[in-house]
Amino acid sequence: MQVGVRSRGARIRSSVFGWANIVPFILFALFPVYFMVITSFKNDAELYNLKAVPFLIQTGVITEHYSYLLFKTEFLTWMLNSLIISVVATSVSLVIAILAGYSLARLRFPGAASFGTAVFITYLVPTTLLFLPLSQVVVWLGISDTIWALIVTYPTFLVPFSTWLLMGYFRTIPKEVEECALVDGATRMQTLVRIVLPMAIPGIMAAVLFGFTLTWNEFTYALTFVSQTQNKTAVVGVTADLIRGDIYYWGSLMAGAVLASVPIVAIYVFFLDYYVSGLTAGAVKG
């Protein structure tokens, strides 16, 4: 690793070795995404021609799969549903998690440690353990088959996760700053809102980004609690409702997969560094 002491030849060899090793990983990671995109722009005749080279578009780029999706299906409704659910569930969870995270990271009271453990355990509970009883809870609440079923249940995994993530960030803020504010006559709530929160913005950003990603991508609850087409999320709508009986649906299916991934990928490209730091800080569900 000490580049300085090695010869030029050794450095070139090492560089070639590195690229030769990393390129297969990059291809492996990107190929399904590339294939998704290219399929969505290919006409059916080429798509289902066994002699055509599947990696390329040879007979012209078409956008029919997309126009079919936008004008002949409920796709835009699904996108809107996803957006509403993600924004509301993430914001509500963020507020609850900021309060709990600050309390657990900073305040001393009997039972704080065991509550911290409880949050950690809840954070690890997979959605697949609770989806059956929760499907009955949403029936009893009278919100089954609406987007509210998801808005109400998503905080069950968002709050423990965001609390855990934020606790780490709150701990890094020097305690003296808060003590000064309290001595100066600020109330505890003012100290939290005006002093601590501005200093925890990177953590809050990470919590928002991950919260939005986790809710937008969620599959188990969205598939289980909602069955009416017009109330589905984008991910479940594309996965479950675009298949039309015959086999020639891959173009529109891939167009749906591309469009429903675009918002998340756009946010991701923009905030890559927050994702990396949040992933390492919180050890997000993978």
């Binding site: 990059i26 709990a100 697949t128 809870v137 991701y268 994702y275 990396v276």
Partner: protein, 312 residues
Amino acid sequence: MAVGQRVLEAAGVPRPGRLARLHEWWEQEHIFGYGLILPALLLIVCLVAYPFGMAIYFSLSDYWVGSPGTFIGLDNFREILKNEVFHRTVYNSFVFTSIAVVIKTILGVWLAMLLFRTFKFKRLIRGAVLLPWVIPTALSTLAWWWMFDSLYSVVNWTAIHLGLIYPPGPNWLGMTSYAMAAVIAVNVWRGLPFFAIIVLAGLVSIPREFYEAAEVDGAGSWGRFRHVTLPLLKPVLAVVILFSTIFTFSDFPIVQVLTRGGPVNTTHLFATLAYQVGLTGGNLGQGAAISLFLFPVLAAFVFIQLRYIRKD
């Protein structure tokens, strides 16, 4: 308060109003602390702990969708344990989880070490490698489904044209011997970035002097990896492996989209079987009993985590 209420009153200072007293009460550290965790506590009790209790109750009753059942003791568990499909699911879950986690660990460490080297386009490479983790799993699994199509599989097309296999190649999702491999491949694709990024963070934290010392002692690159990198990565690796084990074991979207447990139940995992029995079939009691089999693994994980890892 340093001065008692009565003293203040005697001195002519008016008693603080109700609001002021409430404020004073709220400003106490422990009251404020409990107040702030209350919303989260309510949420966890009502929507996590209570449903978990319900899952246990369901599993002990003959509860069907739309008809609350009666208590039947352990009958559901007895029936499940006799069921061939369930046996297959237990076997599948262990095969799926162990193979996927081992592959992800090996490739993850390798990829992290590659990412640790100085490359041009470092950010771009990291962004690309992390992408599978960001795209909604159900949607990327659709792309994989298309890649494993029985007739137009691009995987087969490539392998045939490279001369690796004879046409027409395996029907990945339709043949019992290949479907599990396909499901594992998708899980590895999707889970690898998580491993790599966290192991990378572990690598960054290893002090350089350790490597220099090892080099002075005459260690080659394999020796440095075995005696410096690996031991120092152990805590990080333990955390990722445990996290990944629990989430691979309880995986749902990949199998549900790709094979729905088929062909002939050879890819069913606990979650997909619970979905099929409990929701598609309507037998909530048995479905809940099946999903509760995820619990021992979760409990063991939490125990290990709390006992050994968080201590450090």
